[in-house]
Symmetry: C2
Subunit: 175 residues, 2 copies
C-alpha cells in the first residue's frame, strides 16, 4: 500500500462518537475540496441538526439508504433485500470515481445483524478504486472488516448520562 | 441534575476521532440553531480543512488559544502562563451566556501536562451556567474530570496506519 491509496477507516464500539467522528472527517475532507458522499444505512440515526448543517457545506452529499428496515426476525428477508439494494448503490458510487471519501454510516450494524453477507462487502471494499477513502461506522464491526481496515478506533463507553442517570436525550446534543 | 442542565462530555484515549467527534457535535448543535464556540487549546492540531469548513457554518465560532506553547521543560513557566491566559478566556466565555455549547479542544492534554492546575478548572466547570454544554477533548483526561463528566468516551486505538505501516499522514484525511 502506498500513501496514495485510499484508507479504510472503521469507527466501532458501544461508546458515543462513531458517526460524529465520521461527520467530522467528512467536514475536514470537504474543507480540502474533496467531494464527500455520506451514505446513511440506517434511517433515523441522524437528526435534523446534522442534516441542516450539512446542507451548508460545499462538497458534501448526504444520501439516506436505509429507509424501511424493520429489524424484526419475521421480516428478515425483506430487510436483507433493502440492505442489498443499499449496498448496490454504495458499490456503484464507489466506482463512479467522483467522490474521494465515502462514509458508510452504520454499515457495521447492518453487517453484524447479518443483513448483508460479509464476503461480498469485503470484496467490494478491497476492489474499490485506489485513492478512495472509505469510513465505516457502527457498533459490532466484524473481525474481518477490522483486520482489513487501515485505521480502527473503538469508541469505548466509559460513562453515559442517559444510561447511568436515566436522563433523556437532549436536542442538539444527543449523538 | 435535571434534563435542562448542560452536559459535560469528555473524549479521551489514544485513538483517533476525539476532536473529530467534538467537531461533529458542534455541527449537530449548530444545526439546531445553538450558538457554538470552539476554543482550540493547542494550535496546529487543526488543519486548513476544518477551519475552512467551519467558516461556512452558521452559529459556530472557532477561536485558537494555544499559540506559542513550547512543550519544553525549560519553558514550563511560560507555557503555564499561556495556558492560564487561555483558560481565563474560556471561563469568561462560559459566563458570557451567549454560547450553548463550548468545545475545549485538547484541554485534557493541557491538564495532563500540568500546564493548568486541575482544581480551579474543575471548579470553573462545576460552576458554569446551567444549560451550558461543554466538551473536553484530548488524550490523558484526568480521573477527576472523568468522574465529574456526564458522558465519557475513550477512543481506543485498535489500528493505526501511520504507526502500523509507517505511512505518512494524508491531506484531508489525517485527523
Amino acid at each position: 500500500m502506498s500513501v496514495e491509496e485510499g484508507l479504510l477507516v472503521v469507527f466501532t464500539g458501544s461508546g458515543k462518537g462513531k458517526t460524529t467522528a465520521a461527520l467530522g472527517m467528512a467536514m475536514r475532507a470537504a474543507g480540502h475540496g474533496m467531494p464527500v458522499l455520506i451514505l446513511q444505512f440506517i434511517k433515523g440515526s441522524w437528526s435534523y441538526g446534522e442534516l441542516s448543517s450539512f446542507e451548508n457545506i460545499a462538497n458534501v452529499t448526504l444520501k439516506p439508504l436505509g429507509t424501511g428496515f424493520t429489524w424484526k426476525k419475521e421480516n428478515l428477508d425483506e430487510d436483507r433485500k433493502l440492505a442489498a439494494r443499499g449496498w448496490a448503490e454504495a458499490v456503484s458510487e464507489m466506482h463512479r470515481g467522483h467522490y474521494k471519501l465515502i462514509v458508510l454510516d452504520e454499515l457495521n450494524v447492518v453487517l453484524s445483524y447479518g443483513l448483508l453477507a460479509l464476503d461480498p462487502v469485503l470484496d467490494a471494499l478491497r476492489s474499490r478504486p485506489p485513492g478512495l477513502h472509505v469510513v465505516a461506522t457502527g457498533r459490532g464491526a466484524p473481525e474481518e472488516l477490522i483486520a482489513m481496515a487501515d485505521l480502527v478506533t473503538e469508541m469505548k463507553q466509559v460513562k453515559h448520562p442517559y444510561h447511568d442517570r436515566g436522563l433523556k436525550a437532549q436536542k442538539g446534543i444527543e449523538f
